[in-house]
Symmetry: C2
Subunit: 592 residues, 2 copies
């Protein structure tokens, strides 16, 4: 089974050389000096390598079982969860008021990557809890916060998000789960929710479900939706656990992957729930949580790809097959290692250059969230709002492709379960689907975010690219290999935005037919910008006499690969966008 080592050096490079976090004005960033983050990453890496990664295949093989209404997680998950809890990892970036450590979301994301790479399915129990805490923090009453947050921050209790129903996923206006107000101010929740990750399990004493439901008087569609907190066990006034609530897991889904996480059908049979935030404003409350949740899924996209890449590199160095075309590299052996072959190199460089760019983009997204929350920076808020569908959609699409490429390096051994590569592929697949399928991300980007606030956020993105290019115009090496391709990509992105502007009004189809291509065009351009920034930092380190020149040279070479071989995809996406809606919408539905 694949071993996993946290890429601490790459993460440190981003935090301290590219982003220079300690010098940032964001409250809490000054505490993130290189020694502190190194210690955190080291500790997280140890937990990941020693405890989580060895359980990844176990979770996949055993899956979760539902027997007599009780869900059992795979062998070893309980102990690992206890270790996660004891380490205080969930509270790392949560408020000290509720038992957290109050560090920035950025470092929480860096640690999250490490845990996801090691064991994606396992980390979802904590990840969902983190998301639920966010919703309660943002919208819950003080009483709800006091009752639920400390236990959730400590992982004594976990959380879930209940949106989807059998007949509706994206279109939440159709939901049927009802909330009946009671005399004591609580609600009785009745309905069925599906695809509820971590819906039930044996890792925590209580499970706090956040449930979208319709209360009377809210009107049709999404306007009538409210958000409710529905605990598995009711909580007494003294904080102790009371009666079992009227809810339960009706079924565990059999899935393609993430078998270690219990994906449940949840039945609410008049369960007691408490309103979170304003009545009938549930959708708005959910949306405020979306940026973080979707950033977290984008992170899964490249984090699983990272784990698969590490395994592919190890195999490519170890497996002897064929001879290098330029002459034997291992003349004493029966054959050369796979890594000598140019097409294997291409596959590894595709993966490496994507993953490192994706990490930079995700960390930038996390920084924007910190700026928005900790500095009240409205520009950062609108920028992350724009970038969220790009991060979620592009990184999960490409993360899956990258994982498939890693699997391909193994040949037939990649297809059998024994080597673990099939699991990575099967696990990575879900990230393209949940938390808003990627087509919905593209719709959100083109139909909503692009035109938001008169197009100011995307103008700010272009301005950022322009400024970076101008500031570095005198760096000849950067200019040829990085700035020129970035300029071309940015021009393609602008042309695409212009096309939508000119055609979208008279034909909304023309914009939406190109939405997925626009999302990818944007993703590539954003990764191009990230690589230009990383290359600048690496060049600066080399000029300043870095202690590890090979590392910084490798960064530059990897960036050059991205700019030369991946970034030119922007032109193809633009061509597709500019071909308009005619070819896409030509057929009547019956013609399919």
């Amino acid at each position: 089974m694949p071993a996993y080592t946290a890429p601490a050096k790459d993460i440190q490079f981003l935090l301290h050389e590219v982003m220079q976090v300690s010098a940032s004005p964001v409250p809490g960033y000054a505490e993130l000096d290189a020694d502190t983050t190194a210690a955190i990453l080291d500790e997280a890496g140890r937990l990941a390598s020693e405890v989580l990664a060895p359980l990844n295949a176990v979770g996949d093989r055993e899956g979760c079982r539902l027997e007599n209404g009780v869900v059992t997680t795979p062998a070893g998950f309980k102990d690992a969860f206890a270790a996660m809890k004891d380490g205080g990892w969930n509270g790392l970036d949560l408020p000290e008021d509720y038992g957290g450590q109050g560090l920035p979301y950025l470092i929480g994301s860096a640690v999250g990557e490490i845990f996801v790479s090691a064991n994606m399915a396992f980390n979802m129990y904590q990840g969902l809890t983190h998301g639920a805490i966010g919703a309660i923090l943002a919208h819950g009453s003080d009483a709800l916060k006091a009752t639920y947050l400390p236990k959730m921050v400590s992982l004594d209790w976990t959380g879930t998000m209940n949106l989807t129903e059998p007949h509706c996923g994206t279109d939440l206006g159709l939901i049927r789960t009802r909330a009946e107000p009671q005399a004591d101010g609580s609600y009785r929740i009745t309905g069925q929710k599906i695809f509820i990750s971590a819906g039930d399990h044996d890792l925590a004493e209580n499970i706090i479900h956040l449930v979208l439901a319709k209360a009377p008087g809210g009107g049709e569609g999404t306007r009538g939706i409210s958000l409710f907190l529905v605990p598995k066990f009711l909580v007494n006034a003294d904080g102790s656990l009371g009666a079992r609530n009227a809810l339960g897991a009706g079924k565990i889904e059999e899935k393609m992957g993430i078998h270690g996480n219990a994906t449940c059908v949840m039945n609410y049979d008049g369960a007691t729930g408490y309103l979170v935030g304003e009545l009938h404003k549930g959708m708005r409350n959910m949306f405020t949580m979306m940026n973080e949740a979707r950033l977290g899924v984008g992170l899964q996209g490249y984090a699983v790809a990272e784990a698969a890449y590490q395994a592919a590199v190890a195999y490519a160095k170890d497996r002897l097959q064929g001879r290098a075309v330029t002459g034997a590299a291992n003349p004493a052996g029966p054959a050369d290692p796979l890594i000598v072959h140019p097409d294997i190199r291409r596959a590894l460089m595709d993966q490496k250059s994507f993953i490192e760019g994706a990490r930079a983009l995700t960390f930038w997204g996390a920084e924007l969230i910190d700026r928005a929350h900790r500095l009240g920076d409205a520009g950062a808020e609108s920028m992350i709002s724009l970038m969220t569908p790009v991060i979620k959609g592009f990184l999960t699409d490409k993360g899956f492709d990258s994982t498939i490429q890693a699997q391909q390096v193994f040949g037939g051994h990649g297809y059998i379960e024994e080597w673990g590569m099939s699991q990575f592929a099967r696990d990575a697949r879900i990230a393209m689907i949940y938390e808003g399928a990627n087509g919905v991300q593209a719709l959100d980007l083109v139909g909503r975010k692009l035109a938001a606030d008169g197009g100011k956020p995307i103008m700010a993105f272009f301005e950022m690219v322009k400024t970076f290019i101008k500031e570095n115009a005198d760096n000849a090496a950067l200019d040829r290999d990085f700035l020129e391709p970035l300029k071309a990509a940015s021009k393609d992105l602008q042309a695409a935005a212009m096309f939508f502007l000119q055609n979208g009004m008279k034909s909304p189809d023309a914009a939406l037919a190109g939405s997925t291509d626009f999302l990818h065009l944007f993703g590539h351009t954003a990764l191009g910008l990230m690589w230009a920034k990383m290359a600048r930092a690496a060049m600066a380190a080399l000029a300043a006499g870095t202690a590890d020149p090979a590392f910084h040279q490798t960064k530059i070479a990897t960036g050059r690969y991205y700019m030369a071989r991946q970034l030119p995809a922007t032109r193809l996406h633009l061509a597709r966008i500019e071909s308009g809606a005619a070819a896409v919408m030509a057929l009547a539905a019956e013609a399919f």
Copy 2:
């Protein structure tokens, strides 16, 4: 579970309107009049829809079991195999001398597509047998043919191909399985083979293994390899079954997909085998079989995509979610069907335009094989040799992408096993790997086929494109939407070939670093040519007053989509190729 309907109309269009098979000089093609092929496709379609497709999920869920050395296939497979046998399907395109019907390989491929779409794992038992028969037909002695072929053609016995060993897949020079000559002219075969599809099962009385092994005196590497026929049960002189041979399945692999097929570790412990073809010429003998076997895998690539596409279309028409951006399409209902949304259309058009183009390419490949075998057409032989890696690599890479897109249409329902889309994705994945991983196909194309015979085959391809364009230059509608994009793609392909010619000599890495891109560039150009031909035929039918104008208009619209949205990918592949090897090979192995 997904229903499946054979695309008989699309196949008939190809055979009779595009390829005009009845008018072909290839022996046997005249018999393939429209009524005959319609009857064959109808019968095959019925077996596929009624017997094979309903077993697809069963096979996936149950898999194969090895207990006490005996392999059991999933429930229902035995009856289905009996139906396949009784229908005489295996012998459709095999020689009448051995009980076949002697029809062309082309119609065998058309029927093969239908069976693979319905149940890929099941059809492999027959597919492998077909391949083994081909090897024996081409290289076996008359005695071997007389003893084994009639029973294999009838499917009383099935066949396998044994190449891979634990330490070697692509690099067969490393194999360790030994063949010791015996006094009676037979050999004792000893060694272990892995990844043997249909290696053992309960569907047939006997299993005929074709095994690559090293006999004494053959020298090092691939030169020392010979091909042996090793039956599970020895065959008596009267054709009855004798003693059990010293071989057996040691293990069934747990795989990502194709669970219905038993992928075995095969142990040969001094088993009796018989030389097939010349001693020490085993690799050459295998290679003569490769074109057909690889064409068959390319076919799997689009055939599974077709089944997934059919399911996605049904779901997109049925599932109500959201409203059309141009106004409600189903105002009486709670929401509109998914198919109104432009991004869903894009996904379906991507699939449809790929699958239909892929079918045309595969059928052309099958025709080339028929021309080579039945007419002794050397040009066809060298053309199929060139096209084989393109068909195998491009159609399986894109077929997998297409299947993933079909799965994506289902949202969360695509990820759970209940709807069958996960199975399509997991099954489709193997086609990119087996019968030569796609990276090896790209290496074969660029390193061997491109320069073969002084480059004549690829020049012939360019000439064919040029001639087609010239012949149809006066067709204005074809010219704008089809010939112009085809010309551009062909130019990109020529530029890439030129780049390899100019740089490959001084730096073989420069060619091989672009090999996968070249394979895709070639695949797109070939599909562009296929679409231009299909569009011409559809336009001719419309001009002649077709009875089904909607069908022919749909063909043209689907082709236009391919030319406008997919074919421009050639430019991206060319850009990557022309970026050379520097970025790909920049890093030392330690830097990964």
